[in-house]
């Protein structure tokens, strides 16, 4: 009888011990993730503060910035046009399938589709392009620089790593996401209209369609577009720089840095987008829920 009670108590202690270990592990994970997020916000905020100082923009920093813009935006115009063109066709075909069921016309849906494109789709695709083409490259480049002692070389010459390496990359990522967003909106608009025109589903003249789109667009759309390109792009730049500079001492870490920067940037894009949607459009939603 006593042995049985002792066994039960021992089992209970083991279970309690395992539960405590599990809770401790989960707590550690949660704290690590919080610390990581706080670090990224700190880098993004520091980059913003430094970017606003005129003294930061020495000619060496401007040179790095121009190179980044060239690589991240100018070189990516072609791929943006191709993707935008394909998305325009895809959107139009998908919308055309629903027109009869919804009992509406293409010219009536077009402004709504464009608003969706400007507010959500173009910023999202622009972010994906920048992450895939430049974000991973930034993380890999910085990781290799750190492994080869190049950050120490900069430091020894009195050149601040944050100012010289991080600020131009973060600013260029934000501005390039916005610029590519504009290119994507234009490409989606043109290709969507072209398909509609060729299939006789879009009776409007391009000028008339543009007028109706502009008339339907509000300040909120513009604010949403700017926020969802600049803020998310800023975070993409900060995350990729942070991941690159986190590498410790092994060249074998570089591939995992590259994939981690891509995954974390993607996650951040969706989370920041969701947060911005709540901030910009959430008031009406919250009021209706309450």
């Amino acid at each position: 009888m006593f042995a049985t009670i002792r066994e039960v108590l021992a089992r209970r202690d083991r279970l309690a011990g395992a539960a405590i270990l599990l809770a401790a592990q989960m707590g550690r994970e949660a704290l690590d993730r919080l610390a990581g997020a706080a670090y990224i916000v700190a880098i993004a905020a520091s980059a913003a503060v430094l970017a606003l100082h005129r003294a930061t923009w020495k000619r060496t920093v401007c040179t790095v910035f121009m190179r980044q813009v060239l690589f991240t935006a100018v070189d990516a115009v072609g791929v943006s046009l191709r993707i935008g063109g394909a998305v325009g066709v895809l959107l139009f075909v998908e919308a055309a399938n629903w027109l009869d069921e919804l009992g509406t016309t293409a010219e009536a849906v077009a402004p709504w589709m464009m608003a969706f494109t400007v507010r959500e789709l173009a910023p999202l695709i622009a972010n994906l392009i920048v992450i895939g083409r430049s974000g991973v490259a930034i993380a890999t480049e910085l990781a290799n620089m750190k492994l080869h002692g190049e950050l120490d070389v900069l430091d020894a010459q009195g050149i601040d790593v944050m100012t010289y390496l991080v600020v131009p990359r973060v600013v260029s990522a934000a501005l390039c996401v916005m610029s590519l967003g504009v290119v994507l909106v234009a490409a989606i608009f043109v290709s969507g209209y072209a398909v509609g025109y060729l299939t006789n589903a879009m009776p409007l003249h391009p000028g008339e369609l543009l007028e109706s789109v502009v008339a339907a667009a509000g300040t909120e759309d513009l604010v949403c577009f700017l926020a969802k390109t600049i803020v998310t792009g800023w975070f993409v730049g900060a995350i990729c720089c942070r991941e690159g500079l986190r590498v410790r001492a092994m060249a074998t870490e570089v591939p995992s840095v590259a994939s981690r920067s891509g995954v974390r940037s993607l996650t951040a894009v969706f989370m920041v987008n969701a947060a911005l949607s709540l901030i910009i459009h959430g008031q009406e939603l919250i009021v209706s829920i309450l």
Binding site: K58, R59, T60, E141, N144, M145, H148, G149, E150, D152, V153, L154, D155, A156, Q157, G158, I159, D160, Y164
Partner: protein, 241 residues
């Protein structure tokens, strides 16, 4: 050669001072240094024989303010590195010309851009002026032109000479020369020595690390002191002149 150093009066200001400094190692392979005492004023030159362990000593890092002392002080231009803010530290490092023992290059810039980087960052001089100065120093050191290739595709000898160009064209107040002759033919030594003496006559202090104090006849004369790293501390050997 060697006589053109500045006159040694009492008014020379201190450039680099180690005051009973204990420097921790920066990496696992490095050795710590203890009880370092050294004072370099304008125009002074200290030759430090590091022996075989030269690559693994944090002496130059401490002089640059990259390795902070655990005890004692390292002062540059009268200010303790550890009391300076990050921006002040960076500005001051921009006044130090270095020939590094370890990797010295940014690999995604070509050698010419690497050489000009520090001056482009710290000064407002026109690019043409910087280029002219760099070419002038390159010719002086026997480099026909500063390579426009990435450092990885440039021979080590040319890279080392380009490092000399970078260090001297800064017009530094402190020259940190870590084994500057390593990988360079001995016939280049005269041009290095003349550049060092010219820098000293302008008021620069020189901390020159050599494997052996007798290596390649380093500078002699007033203001030159010799040290050796023995048992992880700096020991004065003898003065000349």
């Amino acid at each position: 050669m060697g006589n053109a150093v500045m006159s040694f009066g009492l008014s020379r200001r201190p450039v680099l001072e180690f005051d009973d400094a204990e420097i921790p190692p920066l990496t696992r392979r490095m050795e710590a240094l203890y009880h370092l005492n050294l004072k370099l004023c304008e125009g002074d030159c200290a030759l430090v024989a590091t022996g075989r362990a030269g690559e693994d000593l944090p002496l130059a890092d401490a002089a640059l303010g990259l390795a902070m002392p655990r005890a004692g002080q390292v002062r540059f231009l009268g200010d303790d590195w550890s009391r300076l803010g990050p921006r002040e530290q960076l500005d001051r490092r921009g006044r130090i010309g270095s020939v590094f023992e370890r990797s010295a290059w940014i690999n995604n810039l070509n050698v010419l851009d690497n050489v000009l980087l520090s001056r482009r960052h710290h000064t407002g001089l026109a690019d043409e002026q910087l280029l002219r100065d760099a070419r002038c120093w390159a010719e002086r050191f026997g480099l026909n032109a500063l390579p426009a290739e990435r450092p990885s595709s440039v021979p080590p000898e040319q890279l080392r000479l380009a490092e000399w160009v970078r260090a001297f064209s800064l017009e530094p107040v402190l020259l940190l020369l870590e084994h500057p002759m390593r990988g360079v033919p001995r016939e280049r030594f005269a041009s290095l020595l003349s550049a060092v003496n010219e820098a000293r006559s302008r008021g620069a202090a020189v901390l020159w690390l050599v494997a052996d104090a007798q290596d390649a006849c380093p500078p002699n004369g007033p203001g030159v002191s010799r040290f050796a790293i023995i048992d992880q501390t700096l020991v004065r050997i003898r003065d000349e002149g």
